[in-house]
């Protein structure tokens, strides 16, 4: 059994840390990671709380695969109520924190309350210290990590930068400089608690029955199912590979989603990124090493990932890789989510060009573009408006039809007019517009399924959402395209009970419904499952998607079918029967 069975609860208000047993019943029903952290939050948070108040809780959750030799098991879930959207929020971060936490003896950490002054936590096996962060506050995440390493040595750290301290709804949490729990303002939750960083060091290990046999079986799986044609794009290219795919299918967001292709795409595609490559880098226990450690000019970064290239590149009409790399590095240091940051800058550019409001920045202006992360993170000048996200900017200045967000979360790098299933995936994602809950573009815009029909899209999206919910709970990285059968096979090597693929799919469905139930309790309804008007009304003008929209009636149809197949009523509310069926 690969759970430690122990949860560490830390109350920052009192400075008290206590150990408690992991709720085994919940672990059985929700596994770990995403699912189990949502379950704890659903049970422990009062409805309607302010996400930036002391009432919110921050949960770090591992899964049954964490710390073992299971390929691609190195990720950690971090969850809270989202300051950006007010929805449930779970993020996934790579690196080495998750395994280290488990080796320290914990399945999870639940952080409550608020420290009187800035602190950071040090979890050293049984010893839990709350240390002053007076000297760290005001510093970027990078220097924060370096200073903590100077003080504590060989530890793994989760840190926030100025964006988290200043409570930006796009503030992320960073680890090992270039890994992020990116979306929904999870970094602002830390900031609101006066918590600058969490460091961990663990001396223990994970025991598994028949460990040598299990290792041999997993090595075979690694060779035959992980390091295969289906997944090795991660090693050969990493996510920048998607730039060419999106460009050729007309779904590369360009100029704030005004177009689906970018003339200068060859300056920001995988070939361009590869020309700056210094080393490939992996998370703990990952053979795929999707990360590209690059250097261009004087700037180095682990990245830029596709989302950064799309949202901060083509979407801002920046066809200069060095500028994108620098923007990426700045965002990582200040702890800004590059998906949201790219969106707000592009939105400001369009509002300026359309004379709606002058933010002093236009498409393609590199110098101004590079000033934005600092202005946003510190809420200075025009950055004060941009810091609030596109929805708030539109409420203040207008342009709501092309404020590209769902539920307040900015849209990732796949144009829904050229991938209708992505539109539905964004609309029904639990934390607002997210591409990680379901990524149907892979088999639709980039595959054999017709992108321009509503037929079959609801079923496609639901299947992916449920499978991913299990994947992010077990925990396996998104970049290993493994089947639920394979997940069950692996989990059965680790758990003291048997689980089938069908049961895992059921667990995924339960998790997805619980996330929806959380949002339902917060007052979210059908109207919140809609996309910006631009997607429904404005025709794209270039490339493969020229002349395309996602007609509202087709979206209505997909959404209605989605609700029906989910067993929700016509307003998207979970039926009592479904709740009973899933033991919610």
């Amino acid at each position: 059994m690969t759970y430690t069975g122990t949860v560490l609860r830390i109350d920052l208000t009192t400075g008290k840390a206590t150990k408690e047993p992991l709720n085994k019943d919940w672990a059985r029903e929700y596994l770990g990671g995403k699912g189990l952290s949502i379950k704890y939050l659903y049970e422990e948070l009062e409805p309607g709380i302010d996400p930036l108040s002391t009432d919110n809780k921050l949960i770090l959750m591992t899964g049954p695969t964490t710390g073992t030799i299971v390929p691609n098991s190195g990720k950690l879930a971090i969850a809270a109520k989202s300051p950006a959207t007010g929805t449930i929020l779970d993020c996934s971060i790579g690196g080495h924190f998750a395994n280290e936490l488990k080796y320290a003896g914990y399945d999870a950490v639940i952080i409550e309350g608020k420290a009187k002054s800035p602190v950071y936590l040090f979890i050293d096996d049984d010893l839990v210290e709350m240390r002053s962060a007076a000297d760290l506050w005001g510093k970027g995440a990078h220097e924060t990590e370096h200073l903590i390493a100077d003080a504590l040595g060989d530890v793994i750290t989760l840190a926030i930068g100025q964006a988290g301290e200043n409570l930006l709804p796009m503030a992320c949490i960073s680890s090992e400089l270039y890994r992020q729990a990116g979306r929904g303002g999870i970094g602002a939750v830390m900031g609101s608690k006066n918590l600058k960083a969490i460091s961990v060091w663990g001396s223990g290990g994970i025991e598994v029955a028949n460990i040598r046999k299990v290792s041999a079986a997993l090595n075979k799986i690694k060779r035959e199912d992980t390091m295969t044609d289906d997944n090795m794009w991660a090693y050969s290219d990493g996510t920048p590979m998607i730039v060419d795919l999106s460009q050729s299918t007309g779904i590369l967001p360009t100029r704030n989603f005004q177009e689906g292709t970018f003339d200068e795409y060859e300056k920001i595609n995988s070939a361009a990124v590869k020309s700056t490559l210094k080393a490939k880098k992996a998370c703990f226990a990952c053979p795929l090493a999707c990360s590209n450690y690059v250097k261009k000019g004087k700037t180095e970064v682990e990245g830029p990932e596709y989302e950064t290239l799309a949202l901060c590149g083509s979407n801002c009409a920046i066809g200069d890789l060095e500028a994108i790399i620098e923007f990426n590095r700045l965002c990582d240091d200040y702890c800004l989510d590059t998906i949201s940051a790219g969106n707000v800058v592009a939105f400001a550019m369009e509002l300026t060009e359309k004379d709606v409001h002058d933010f002093g920045i236009r498409f393609g202006e590199i110098d101004n573009f590079l000033k934005m992360p600092g202005l946003m993170a510190n809420r200075e000048g025009v950055g004060a408006d941009l810091a609030e996200g596109v929805r708030a900017m539109a409420e203040k200045y207008g342009g709501g039809d092309y404020a590209m967000q769902v539920k307040g979360l900015e849209i990732p790098g796949y144009e829904p007019r050229g991938s209708w299933s992505m539109g539905l995936a964004y609309g029904t994602a639990d934390r607002g517009a997210c591409h990680m809950r379901a990524w149907p573009a892979a088999v639709e815009a980039f595959g054999d399924i017709d992108p321009y029909t509503s037929e079959g899209k609801a079923e496609l999206v639901i299947g992916m959402q449920d499978d991913n919910a299990v994947k992010f709970s077990a925990i396996f990285c998104d970049f290993w395209a493994l089947s639920t059968e394979r997940m069950a096979e692996i989990l059965n090597m680790l758990l003291d009970y048997e689980v089938t693929a069908a049961e895992l799919t059921r667990i995924g469905e339960r998790i997805y419904n619980l996330a929806r139930l959380f949002n339902e309790r917060e007052g979210f309804t059908k109207k919140d499952d809609y996309l910006p008007e631009r997607i429904f009304k404005e025709k794209l003008t270039t490339g493969a998607t020229e002349g395309k929209v996602l007609p509202r009636e087709d979206y209505d149809k997909m959404l209605a079918e989605y609700y029906r197949l989910r067993g929700w009523d016509e307003n998207g509310m979970i039926s009592d029967q479904k709740k009973k069926e899933l033991n919610l």
Partner: protein, 77 residues
Amino acid sequence: MQITLYLKGPLKKYGDNNDSLTIELEQDQVAINEIIEQLEIPASSISFIQINGEKSDSGTILMGGEIIVVNPRVAGG
């Protein structure tokens, strides 16, 4: 007739790790999937094929002079 083939990412290995292959075709009326078969690239390993920059059907008949890109499957995003 002659075509240029780019095998992307992990598919490069099916072309002896070359960035691009120039293929001379002796007969006319060759469909792109026949070339894929000759190179022994499993259909399941391909997400989609671009011909001259556009996503194309694998049954497309080649006329000569095309630039063909074969993309691998991707997951996650």
